[in-house]
Symmetry: C2
Subunit: 295 residues, 2 copies
Amino acid sequence: MQEFEQALHLSATAVVQKLDQLLPVPQDAESRLHEAMRYAVLGGGKRLRPFLVLNSAALFAVNTDCALRVAAAIECIHCYSLVHDDLPCMDDDDMRRGRPSTHKQFDEATAVLAGDALLTLAFDILSRPETHEDPHVRCELVAMFAEAAGARGMVGGQMIDLLAENQNLPVGAIARMQQMKTGALISLACDAGAALGRASPPHRQALHAYAFDLGLAFQIADDLLDSQGDASQIGKTPGKDQAAGKSTFVASMGPDRARTQAQFLSDQAVKHLDLFDKKADLLRQAASYIVNRQA
Amino acid sequence: MQEFEQALHLSATAVVQKLDQLLPVPQDAESRLHEAMRYAVLGGGKRLRPFLVLNSAALFAVNTDCALRVAAAIECIHCYSLVHDDLPCMDDDDMRRGRPSTHKQFDEATAVLAGDALLTLAFDILSRPETHEDPHVRCELVAMFAEAAGARGMVGGQMIDLLAENQNLPVGAIARMQQMKTGALISLACDAGAALGRASPPHRQALHAYAFDLGLAFQIADDLLDSQGDASQIGKTPGKDQAAGKSTFVASMGPDRARTQAQFLSDQAVKHLDLFDKKADLLRQAASYIVNRQA
């Protein structure tokens, strides 16, 4: 686990460096926007999605700088979604990663705009020749990102999540919501690595199946942390989902069954990687890290 | 002028039909999101930016369906920006195109998400092979859209606009802000038509120069309408810019000079089209329509 955490840390450092290069330098009359974009993206986080991009791409010997650009793009999408999700009209969260959330540090209007600009920046990054020499691959990446982040993916999941407050959703509906809200971007990370590497269909399918199970396991672990975690460790307000009457896996199946289910999904995720050699070991370790993490 | 208005109307009808096809059909637990997206996009409007895409593309004999897809994508971007701009934390506008704005018809959270999903949908549309057979062109379109809509374009302009409330900006700073906030998308419309048609550099430059002047003329005309227009005609609350202490061309130079300047820019825009034959006549007419419109 220590080896894995070191690898995760190294990958996060490389991604932050790439993000720093790609984010606009604060200047001119609109510098407040650039500052808010940097605040929202450069303020820590495990950088799990970028890690999955980099380690999926590494299976196919993708050029590291290309993979880092795609990793940065997915983090822009993830961070934009957090900025908008934290807004008072949405989840109304004042803390994020142990710091004031973007609308508390700046203001609501700036947070809305910074989120919009980060989403747009992700597509900017993907479209440029530096991301991949083949424009077919770049178009495929743009399409994959748009599908995973849009109305049938992440944003659709956020809509269901908001509508589900104070409702008892059946576990199947919770799984669909979480698959859209969180799972779509985790699957995207692995799919994007495979697309960058022009992987064969069996390799693509294996990685996609891995990411699907990993995404659900991740969400269940997240629900467990929210219900039992500690604010100083998780960097946001714990118990919020419960207070908001949200439909979560833990609320639906209880903490013990949820923990068993997360472990089952994690083991199943690892099995999907059987057709890869030891180059996939960090991805295998990611599956157990995700269900055992304390933050 | 009547011939022009008929052409504008015909183009709007075709674009609305294409948008209707491309927008998600309301279904599943997230249908409220799809409904809000459709409400925000299908509720009327002159569809000026799509008109400019279609008529720029027509100069280079671009396939109509391809041009319609790009026209639909630019309208998704424009409409998302209106939805977010109308939010209480931004311009706080209850009316848009004579109807309740999206957050009044639905709620703020749904409006934030619908805007996010529309922005994402625009890139989805651009990335697909149906938009252009050549992936180089599609990547170029994605890059152009991201640049025009992002932190250095439209969103940057919105940030400056918000910061400029109750400040007296010099006219040069107002021109830069408006060029980013409104002009960038109007230029994009013409640039995208030229990109679809793989136009030669002189043709691209001419169209870009036309759109640049047109964009400023459009904004000055918009300021004049806001300061002197009638709510039932312009479909939104008039006098709002003034009440909010916004820096506008009209506030800075007075209505008479503003009107003269808009006419000058419109004439100059038309001159940039000299290297095109009568196929550019509708674009020429658009320039005078824009400064003479009453709504």
